[in-house]
């Protein structure tokens, strides 16, 4: 690792520690934020409970296989909130003139956006996600070979990057049109609502939209299909489903290029 990278990592770590310390100084607020992170995922917990208690499966999948979808999505989402989730608050940062301040420092603006504050709610998200993953793995009949575990890890990272890519594109739009911030709320709602289901239970048009227009399917559904061996009726060729983690990386890199272009054309606030 180069000296420059090491120096950058040290600064990121230092600011993160200071941000964590700052958020912990307001004890009640800190605990409330963790709680809200967990409570926010209550619909997923209800979904998982109903799935296990009332149904044997869904869309031709066993309940234990279906449960892996929200587990992967939740873990990917929790990591996104923890590591790259400040993109979600870009509208506020633009309105407060913080982007102008970031542009005055010799540090990438994207990194400064991510270091704006510590996302305490991510702890709640990750606690729920980890619980769900433990539950899903303990009920799974799959043979968890090294290859399968590796793919699971890659799928979670790919899912995180894909979610980050979607929010980065919306954030890029916000740099030009601050009202685009509302789209991030819609996106979050959509990911929360449809992210936990096998998409083959939805009408074909909706499934197609959530695969090709808004690549939600590649976050958790398709990687789970690959892990559980569901290669039929998944809406895409099997090789494409298997490439989900790579699509996450590619999507994120493309989104960062969009971000860079938008930042170049940033026109600021208040004249």
């Amino acid at each position: 690792m180069s000296q420059k990278t090491m120096k950058s990592l040290r600064i990121v770590w230092r600011i993160t520690l200071l941000n964590i310390r700052a958020s912990m100084e307001y004890r009640t607020e800190f605990l409330l934020m963790i709680a809200i992170g967990a409570i926010w995922q209550v619909s997923v917990i209800v979904f998982a409970t109903v799935l296990l208690a009332r149904f044997t499966g869904m869309g031709g999948w066993d309940s234990s296989d279906v449960l892996l979808i929200p587990a992967i999505r939740m873990l990917a989402h929790g990591l996104f909130v923890l590591l790259l989730g400040r993109m979600h608050f870009i509208g506020r940062q633009i309105q407060e003139g913080k982007i102008d301040v970031y542009l005055l420092r010799p540090m990438p603006v994207h990194r400064q956006v991510q270091l704006a504050f510590f996302p305490t709610n991510a702890i709640g998200d990750l606690l729920v996600a980890a619980g769900l993953m433990v539950g899903a793995l303990s009920r799974s009949d799959l043979d968890w070979t090294t290859g399968r575990v590796s793919y699971l890890v890659a799928a979670i990272i790919g899912g995180m990057l894909l979610e980050a890519a979607l929010f980065t594109v919306v954030a890029s739009a916000c740099l030009r049109f601050p009202a685009a911030d509302y789209w991030s709320r819609w996106l979050e709602e959509l990911l929360g609502t449809f992210g936990s289901y096998p998409l083959n239970v939805l009408p074909r048009a909706v499934g197609g939209f959530l695969t090709y227009a808004l690549p939600l399917a590649f976050v958790a559904y398709l990687p789970t299909a690959v892990l559980t061996g569901h290669d039929q009726d998944i809406g895409v060729p099997y090789w494409l489903a298997a490439a989900s983690p790579l699509l996450g990386i590619a999507g994120y890199l493309a989104a960062r290029l969009v971000w860079r272009w938008s930042l170049k054309h940033y026109t600021g606030v208040n004249g």
């Binding site: 120096k7 040290r10 600064i11 230092r14 600011i15 200071l18 941000n19 700052a22 958020s23 407060e96 003139g97 102008d100 301040v101 542009l103 005055l104 420092r105 010799p106 540090m107 504050f117 170049k264 054309h265 940033y266 026109t267 600021g268 208040n270 004249g271």
Partner: protein, 337 residues
């Protein structure tokens, strides 16, 4: 510190495209279906330079284009035309390199971390700008002596008063020892004591440290105390670039000499370059007449030599009046164009 701290601006322009808002609900609908775009020239063909170690006041009424100019010089905005170099760097092409050469304070927003104590913000900036620890400590000590920072630097930024916050921002902007400093209304809303402290600090930075400072402000006392040269822009265009003395000579001849004559029946008239403005009984008021009018002191001498007076008073335009006259002049040129 870098030696080349000059600023060069050539034909700098920035145009924003906005949609015209038509009045009423029907107008709003029409704007939605058929938006009418207009180009707003926030900065138009502005050229000036600031020598290393010089403090220049960039003045103009609200919306004149001052902040947009500063944003282009600091790398926040990219110009639509023209070129700028700050300490030899094109700021909008090499943003991060430019950031190392400049310090910036926006009076209305902070660059410090809101939830952290001031001293921790300073420490983060030290890491970002890669300032050696000993150098950082020495500079912080110097700034503490000038700005009295230690009385509040363990307080979180969100709990600071405006004066404390801007003093912290000033220190933060200079901790990496930049040769060029941009200050956008740094003392706005401050009390007179803190304002004076900040002015002293800035004077010290220019005179002792040789920093180049570009300052925007509406406070003419500040301009008078700090700047030798002024650039005035209005409607995005440069309308004046000169020293304070030159500007006073051009727009400051609004003095009045009021005298009480010893003999109220004295016949009073105009003098060369001096007009009689009013005359009632023993009271007479004189003012400048034409572009070759004398200075207020020369006029006073002439009046006293010509008439026998028992009392006199002088009204000389202060810098605020001078700038007002300059703005009005700029407006009349803009309307005529």
């Amino acid at each position: 510190m870098h030696l080349n701290g000059n600023i060069e601006v050539r034909g700098l322009s920035r145009t924003f495209h906005t949609t015209v808002r038509r009045p009423g609900f029907a107008g709003a609908l029409r704007s939605l279906v058929n938006p009418q775009k207009v180009a707003k020239h926030a900065v138009c063909d502005v050229s000036f330079s600031v020598a290393a170690g010089e403090l220049l006041a960039l003045l103009g009424p609200n919306g004149a284009g001052k902040s947009t100019t500063i944003k282009m010089l600091t790398g926040i905005l990219t110009p639509t035309a023209g070129e700028a170099r700050v300490a030899g760097v094109v700021p909008y092409e090499e943003r991060e390199r430019n950031a190392r050469n400049i310090g910036t304070v926006f009076g209305q927003r902070t660059q410090l971390w809101w939830d952290l104590p001031v001293r921790e913000s300073f420490a983060i900036l030290r890491d970002i700008y890669e300032v050696p620890k000993a150098e950082h400590a020495a500079r912080l000590k110097e700034f503490d002596e000038l700005l009295d920072l230690s009385s509040f630097w363990d307080t979180r930024v969100r709990h600071l008063s405006l004066g404390q916050r801007v003093r912290s921002d000033l220190a933060a902007a200079l901790l990496h020892d930049p040769p060029v400093v941009f200050l956008d209304e740094p003392t706005i809303g401050m009390d007179v004591v803190v304002k004076e402290q900040v002015r002293e600090f800035l004077r010290h930075q220019v005179e002792e440290r040789g920093r180049t400072v570009l300052l925007t402000t509406h406070d003419m006392t500040e301009v008078e105390r700090l700047a030798e040269r002024v650039v005035l822009i209005n409607h995005g265009r440069l309308v004046l670039d000169g020293t304070l003395d030159e500007i006073r000579r051009k727009f400051g001849s609004t003095w009045q000499v009021r005298v009480t004559l010893a003999d109220p029946h004295t016949e009073v008239g105009s003098l060369p370059g001096i007009a009689l403005l009013r005359h009632e009984g023993p009271q007479a008021v004189f003012g400048p007449d034409g572009p070759d009018a004398p200075t207020v002191h020369q006029a006073l001498k002439q009046v006293i030599e010509r008439y026998e007076v028992t009392d006199l008073a002088l009204d000389e335009a202060d810098l605020e009046d001078v700038m007002r006259a300059a703005y009005v002049h700029a407006e009349s040129i803009a309307e005529g164009a």
